[in-house]
Amino acid sequence: MTSQPTAGGTPPALEVRGLVRHFPGPGRSTVRAVDGVSLTVGRGEVVGLVGESGSGKSTVGQCVVRLDEPTGGTVRIGGVDVTRLSRRRLRPLRKDFHLVYQDPSASLDPRMSVARIVAEPLVLHRLARGDALRSRVAELLEQVGLRPELAERRPHELSGGQRQRVSIARALAVDPLLLVADEPTSALDVSVQASVLNLLADLQRDRGFGCLFITHDLAAVEFLADRIAVMYLGEIVEQAPAAELFTAPKHPYTQALLSAVPVPDPAVQRARGGSPAEGRGRIVLHGDLPSPVFPRTSTGQAVGYCRFHTRCPLAVERCRTEAPEHRTLPGGRQVACHLVEDDGTAPDAARPRPRTLEPQAPAQSADSTTDVDRKP
């Protein structure tokens, strides 16, 4: 397991071990939304948790901030096990972790002024009052780039980008150890998204909080994260430093995911492999993310196969009969795939060996370059 280098043995901002969140499914079934997730966010580190809808990434975030009760596993924040604490015991610790949601118009109280929204955590934790409170709020608004005259406005009078800045100011008001940001820029326009990402990067650098950045946006995560964990169907399939993950993804799912992201550059798109008819060198996965509903009999037991085998262009018999273990490769990367060798040699999902697939399997021209060529 990666234990992040932390100064002088201080515990990391966040340590999640074997996190499980199951929901009762229809009939005799179980929805395995999160199924054995372990990850660490060091102090001052940004870890990106990426995955498609239904992969369980948001449920991880909800469990981390204890808005949801994990079925199993532990969550430690700054070394304190918060998994089973009662609401009362948890309350004073809540200043150590904060959440920023995707849609600020739904997470800000429409009847409160911006100043009151930002002041609320400080008041609740009795960290400031009177003039000290007012000056702290003014300082926070300035830090997130909001003009002082906006303090008396209400959320509906602000633009989407400004509202998200208010959420960030509120989250950082109590100087948390850990910020969980769940799709903080997904509802924003491109140009506004850029300014919020810049702001998060600046604040993180200046304030040094740990950040779990949950998103489906690979471009945003590459910009912000030091390390990235890729989730698929309730499980982390690969974890690596951001630059390594983008230049040399090991897991076939990560490879497919990265190759599917349209790059805003027609020249790069062309270089990925010829005309549109040839699919431009992308690894096209067939079908959608399967449902995380499993027969109830298997609750508590590990799933006996690789969850990605139904869509994996490289799947072999072993993938259907045995779950891959989460292995740490030399250099500290982690991957859960039978086909990745112990020395880190990974298969290339863009060049599957001939096998009987659907007829519309993407035709790869022999010289098609893959995303591995996208060097920084």
């Binding site: 140009s191 850029a194 489906h216 992201v261 805003p264 027609p266 067939h286 959608d288 993310l289 060097k375």
Partner: protein, 359 residues
């Protein structure tokens, strides 16, 4: 000014404007689209790009004649030379679904939950092509196969809730192309989908264009999707076209400062690693300021308040789309035009306004 596709255009939009009556006691009318012109040729994908509120979706609804009666639509929308602006509902109905069709962002709200997908595809066929029940079902299954749905014989009898998001959007595409329309308008067709699913749906769009020669108007905010799918791009800002160019030219040498800003705002693969390697702090470029309100149609550049290169000319006269001086793009048949008094040159520097540039 905009004869890119010449006489071959199937869809020709000229000087389209749409305005809505403002609220009582509000700031007046809202001019959602202001003087927009474009052509689309068979088998061509024109991407209309812009941020929320720029008027791209209103444009698509205006072209389809789907705006509510409260909207005031001006200008011309011609489909194969036939004028649709101001046409009555009966005429529009005979065109919609048969000659021109549309796909929306969220397939679940466009599909009827209580009808099988076969019935919904068949409805179009029976109405426009007069097919019988059995023939329509047969043809529906074929269409499902065209859009890449495995096991179409079974899927044709399923209901929308039994399908995944990507499959539903494929069904929408099947409905849209059932009558082999000349023009398909796709409004953010992949925005609600995951990237791995999006890739498949974009491939279907590409295949339809290639096989059926459909002209596609792709409305999107995603520059990655544009780079992947489009032949030509129209960039909109605050209801107006600010740049119109072949896709390669637009991405390689954007002439309008707003386009440049949009392109720079998107994180690039490897951008952070490159910045860190050079000891720089990774930054995305921001466009300062906010999108203006649409209550006026000012006789000036609407981007001027946010533009670093704006001067007195920009704030006193409205620039029109025209080809900036300088080298022609890769395709002389498809000119690169920008609505800017000081269009950026290849190096990204703003040009001096020339006298003949004035309209």
């Amino acid at each position: 000014m905009n004869d890119t596709a010449g006489s071959t255009a199937v869809l020709r939009v000229r000087d389209l404007s749409v305005s809505f009556r403002g609220e009582e006691g509000g700031d007046g009318d809202v001019h959602a689209v202001d003087g927009l012109s474009f052509d689309v040729a068979p088998g061509e994908v024109l991407a209309v790009v812009g941020e929320s509120g720029c008027g791209k979706s209103v444009t698509s609804l205006a072209v389809m004649g789907l705006l509510p009666p409260t909207a005031r639509v001006g200008g011309s929308v011609a489909l194969r030379g036939r004028e649709l602006a101001g046409a009555d509902e009966k005429e529009l109905r005979s065109v919609r679904g048969r000659e021109m069709s549309m796909v929306f962002q969220e397939p679940m709200t466009s599909l009827n939950p209580v009808l099988t997908v076969g019935r919904q595809i068949g409805e179009v066929l029976r109405r426009h092509q007069g097919l019988g029940r059995r023939e329509a079902r047969q043809r529906s299954a074929e269409l499902l196969e065209t859009v890449g749905i495995p096991d179409p014989g079974r899927r044709v009898d399923e209901y929308p809730h039994q399908l995944s998001g990507g499959m539903r959007q494929r069904v929408m595409l099947a409905v849209a192309v059932a009558c082999d329309p000349a023009v398909l308008i796709a409004d953010e067709p992949t925005t609600a989908l995951d990237v791995t699913v999006q890739a498949g749906v974009l491939d279907v769009l590409g295949a339809l264009r290639e096989r059926l020669g459909t002209a596609i108007v792709l409305i999107t905010h995603d520059l990655g999707v544009v780079a992947h799918t489009a032949d030509r791009v129209l960039v909109m800002y605050a209801g107006r076209a600010v740049e119109h160019a072949p896709v390669e030219d637009l991405f390689a040498t954007p002439r309008h400062p707003y386009t440049r800003g949009l392109l720079d705002a998107v994180p690039r693969p490897g951008g952070r690693a490159a910045a860190l390697a050079e000891g720089r702090r990774p930054r995305l470029r921001e466009i300062p300021g906010l999108v203006p309100g649409l209550e006026t149609q000012p006789d000036r550049c609407t981007f001027a308040p946010r533009c670093a290169h704006a001067d007195g000319l920009c704030t006193s006269r409205r620039p029109l789309l025209q080809a900036p001086a300088g080298p022609v793009g890769e395709r002389p048949d498809a000119p690169h035009t920008a609505a800017c008094w000081h269009p950026l040159d290849v190096t990204g520097a703003p040009a001096e306004a020339t006298e003949e540039a004035a309209p």
